[in-house]
Amino acid sequence: MRPPPPDASVIARLHAAWKKAAQTANLAIGVPDYENYVRHRRAVHPDEPVMSYEAFFRERQDARYGSAANPRCC
């Protein structure tokens, strides 16, 4: 997410680019970033449970197809 510092090595840059591409691909099919979700839950609701990746994935899948609120175009 954050741009790498200027002295970051090429490998780190490639890694960041790959991560961003993977995030884009996941979001394109309705799955937001899991690490970000975990970070958010830990920071804002430290005493509440956090879904496992499997549960998170299922929850997002049901949300994407579970209502009319997510139209796709022609």
Binding site: L27, A28, F57, N70, C73, C74
Partner: protein, 689 residues
Amino acid sequence: MNTLLSRALWLALSIFGAACLATVALRRGETINAMWLIAAAGSVFVIGYRFYSRYIADVALQIDPKRATPAVLRNDGLDYVPTDRTVLFGHHFAAIAGAGPLVGPVLAAQMGYLPGTLWILVGVVFAGAVQDYVVLFLSTRRDARGMGEMIKSELGPVAGVVAMAGILAITIMLIAVLALIVVKALAESPWGLFTVAATIPIALFMGVYSRYLRPGKIGEVSVIGVLLLIASVIVGGHVAADPAWAAAFTHDGVTLTWMLIAYGFAASVLPVWLLLAPRDYLSTFMKIGTIAVLAVAILIAAPELKMPAVTPFIDGSGPVWAGPLFPFLFITIACGAVSGFHAMVSSGTTPKMLANEAHARPIGYGSMLMEAAVAIMALTAACILEPGVYFAMNSPAAAIGNTAESAAAAIAEWGFVVTPELLTQTAKDIGETTILSRAGGAPTLAVGMAMILHQVVPSVASMAFWYHYAILFEALFILTTIDAGTRIGRFMIQDFIGSLYAPMKNTRSWVANAVATTLCVAGWGWFLMQGVTDPLGGINTLWPLFGIANQMLAGIALIFATVVLIKMKRERYAWITAVPMTWLLICTLYAGMLKVFSANPRIGFLAHADKFSAAIARGEVLAPAKSMAQMSRVVLNDRIDATLALLFMSVVVIVFVLAVRTAIASLRSRLPTAAEAPYVAVKDAPAAA
């Protein structure tokens, strides 16, 4: 110094773009290279984005980067997530891009490449991208609410209900016309049908894999899925070559229609993880990947455009679809220039993830420019074909007969030279028995894509492989629209009936689910069957209805945007949405009037119905109908289509009248009356939910 340099560069780009555009527009009598068109389009997009969208952002909307967005205020890590703008751009583009921008421009190519190109370029900069951007912005300022709800709160409950009913009707029409394209592409094509049918077991396998074997590992299962898809294209070639297998996968349009109806029903009621979701993954990745590959291939191949700039068919006599350039070109190319459905996407999930108001410009305006680029690519792919081949593929059998010889003769009369040998050779090259009357745009685009890809990498695969790969790519994401659309239609129907009879609202009830799904499938299935059995090819009738519906939805979205600008006391800038709104209302209402009332039976539904009912009264059977029963069905179809067109028109007129009333009231008010969510500065935003 820097600004001087940048000004000089922008000036140079403008001159370059104008020169390319002039070449595209003015060169006559000789073929031109597609690069002129691509370069002209690219310059227009860049200049439109840099200047016009920035003007809209800074002056009209007055974007406030310090204002917290719903994603920030309600951050829950799930629905509301402040998202990197590049990542969100990908999401938004994947949601708006579909078959529309690929098919419309191909159909519009019957008038030559110039009319379609100009409408895409002007339309996207001043209408399509503006709509997507402004709606995204307005939804972001309204807690990321959907189009229906926003219309209700800004224009009143009546407008809200009317708009929602219109949206449902349009969804059903959209599914029907897209399904028709798939049927047209797969009828009598064992290779095509096998590969597309193979996507069902592949999706089921992926569903089980990502649910139980390796839960949530979408990346790896998608790679496996895409490899299996490519394998299925190769196997399909062998299936088509084997007489027994080929017979098993050769079906006519009516049989395919019933298959699709059964599929749509099943996919909509089955658990989503099993079929719907994995198919969605496949189609999303294939779509983006193939579009990228095609873009690169066009740049490398730099093909010549064989279609003339303008054909004689601008007078409305064309065989692909009936009606003169104005107003019908502007409803034939819907997506790619301006598409009402995008207003639904722009007020759906995207505003819930917008990290900052300032990102709405690249995501809303930028994604739509990218979709216009896809439309230009589709237009290019159709126009590199020999015009004779294009017309042979897209004209109904009623116009060109059933043999290569009759087709070549009919097309020669229209002034395009083509030999029967070229038609049969092209069919052979792409591994099909015939290319005649394969209406609907998808096969034409597939031939164009196959020619380009085969030219760029001749040794990798045959034309036939690329053709069927392209068919698979189109059919796959159309089928995803059909099943996801059926599900969305089902929810809308449940919502509607649920407001009259509460138990129908329960989306978990099996009975409610089955009833609503049946209604939705029956709705689009009826229009699909009408299109498939229509001797004039169906596209002729249904595509204009779809185009009118989609552009009217855009009209409604722009009406809404204009009223909100007035309510915000920015009436000075309301022209930004009011001008495209006016244009769309003129085109759609005029086209709708012609479709219903034109005295020309080729265009007007009622005139066509009268012609057939007069023949019934005389006891005559008119071609292309073959029996009295068919005759009566033609009449019934025409009357239902006319009713539907009138329904669409009344929806838009009612919304417009209510909007004028609201606008006058807000002009009289001295204070802004728009219903925005309260202002919260980014620095004061709570840590969120």
